[in-house]
Amino acid sequence: MNDNELDELIRTTAPVTDAQLASVNLDEPLAALADGIVEGAHRSANRRARLRRPVISVAASVAVLAGVFAVQTNGGGGPAYAAEVVAVAESAPRMLVGADGWRLTRADEFTTDMGEVTFERGAQRFDLHWMPAASASPDKLADESDINERVDVLGHDAVIYRYAETDDYTAWWTAGDDAVNARGVFKSLDAFKAILASLRGVSVNEWLDAMPASVITPSNRADVVDQMLIGVTVPPGFDVERLRAGTTVKDRYQLGAAVSAALACGWIENWIAATGAGDVEAAKAAVKAMHGSHDWPVLNEMNAEGAYPEVLWELADAMAAEQNGTRPNISTEMKNARVRDVYRDSLGCGQ
């Protein structure tokens, strides 16, 4: 069952469908509501102006693409971990939960600029996100929160918010160039404050040691690259030595993403060049090779762990559709994008 078929099945679980809504005449009541909001707002504009909280900041949403799998290579680092991983760790606000029973369970999305880790204790979750301070947008929360309390977190002035009448707490603070967002559902404000108070700053090595095993797994890169290339179709001009000779160490998933990116980027670039040159046969060969990516073992292994294969397969399907002059039968934003406009960011080409 593909994604579209699955979505179709999920659609049957909707308690009310758009068709049912359309069967009721809602034009007049909806118009009356709009009138009521505008007129009511005009009447109370002065009062509301006095009550409105100041806006902290408005920023574009943080852009995170499939390229998160390709950690940047900034050099430096100690002997225990790959240089690129150390570079990420050095740039991150490294914190661990000190309260008993909590362990770091997820850290699969970070770069030198931003990241997200999850701590868990039983069914409880506590998430830490960090991002450039300029990208942070706590204003939405500030406006809708029913609490606004300041606490100290590792020497930083943090503000705690809560989505009104829920137990969903969020704390925001700034640490150097980073804005940090801590979030979790807790039974009380005191419980949330307690976990914030238990946060402790740690060294690069202690932070990396706490990561789940899947994050950093040194391996024999050349051998693994060769193993990952079994069962794939290599594009013309493919530089296997560059992949084999990489000096950095990634975990298996990340290395799989790098190998897959080199293959797919190569095929897509061949396809674009062939299309531009009017070489229909070469263009079709590239489309066929990318279609074959559905069977690449490296991607099928990765598919259990993350969404990179899905992104690549969507591009492969979109390529075929563009070649045939049809719309791709996919449900994501790629449906409306041209492959040549999105593939580099989506796959992390050249990283």
Binding site: I37, V311, T332, E333
Partner: protein, 178 residues
């Protein structure tokens, strides 16, 4: 507010209400106990949108932003105050007719039961990304705006949720055969 600014703001508000009002209503009506309660959510969400008109993002981010607001209204259950104001009584009454126009509940149950059961076995975080993708036909970036998490997180959650759902459906299917 000066008359000119007020008119400009009102025009912008009415444009976004016209473009997204029904979508927000659809989003809300699928997440409340009774269809009529969706009127409270729409009224509150668009009151927030009017109040924060300067913060409402431009297209194509407008709808996910509104869904995000509506989602929090549903979660926060702070709808009693507006109901007393009576801004949306007509809408409540109209939505009350939806149950009567629904298909036979028994038929609907039979049609959706295995998938509904499978969905029920997933964590709520999985269910919601699946609903947003299927019911509201949002892409990963839009879901990310609704849930206020990075798009990469949504991609991963969506993929895992679909994988889990297929696995549960396979288990159900195998159990039925034995």
């Amino acid at each position: 507010m000066a008359r000119t600014n007020r008119t400009d703001a009102e025009q912008r508000f009415r444009a976004l209400y016209s473009a997204h009002g029904r979508a927000v209503l659809g989003f809300a009506v699928r997440r409340v106990a009774q269809p009529a309660d969706a009127a409270d959510v729409v009224a509150e969400a668009f009151t927030v949108a009017w109040r924060r008109l300067a913060d409402v993002p431009a297209e194509p981010e407008t709808r996910p932003w509104l869904f995000g607001v509506a989602r929090r209204v549903v979660a926060n259950q702070r709808r009693g105050e507006l109901r007393r104001v009576g801004l949306h009584e007509k809408l409540r009454v109209s939505l009350g007719a939806i149950q009567a126009s629904s298909p036979d509940p028994a038929d609907a149950l039979a049609l959706t039961q295995p998938i509904a059961e499978a969905m029920a076995r997933l964590p709520e975080t999985d269910r919601e990304v699946l609903r947003l993708a299927a019911w509201e036909e949002l892409n990963a970036s839009e879901i990310a705006m609704v849930l206020d998490v990075p798009a990469a997180t949504v991609r991963t959650r969506l993929h895992r949720a679909r994988t889990r759902l297929r696995s549960v459906l396979d288990e159900q299917s195998a159990a039925t055969r034995t």
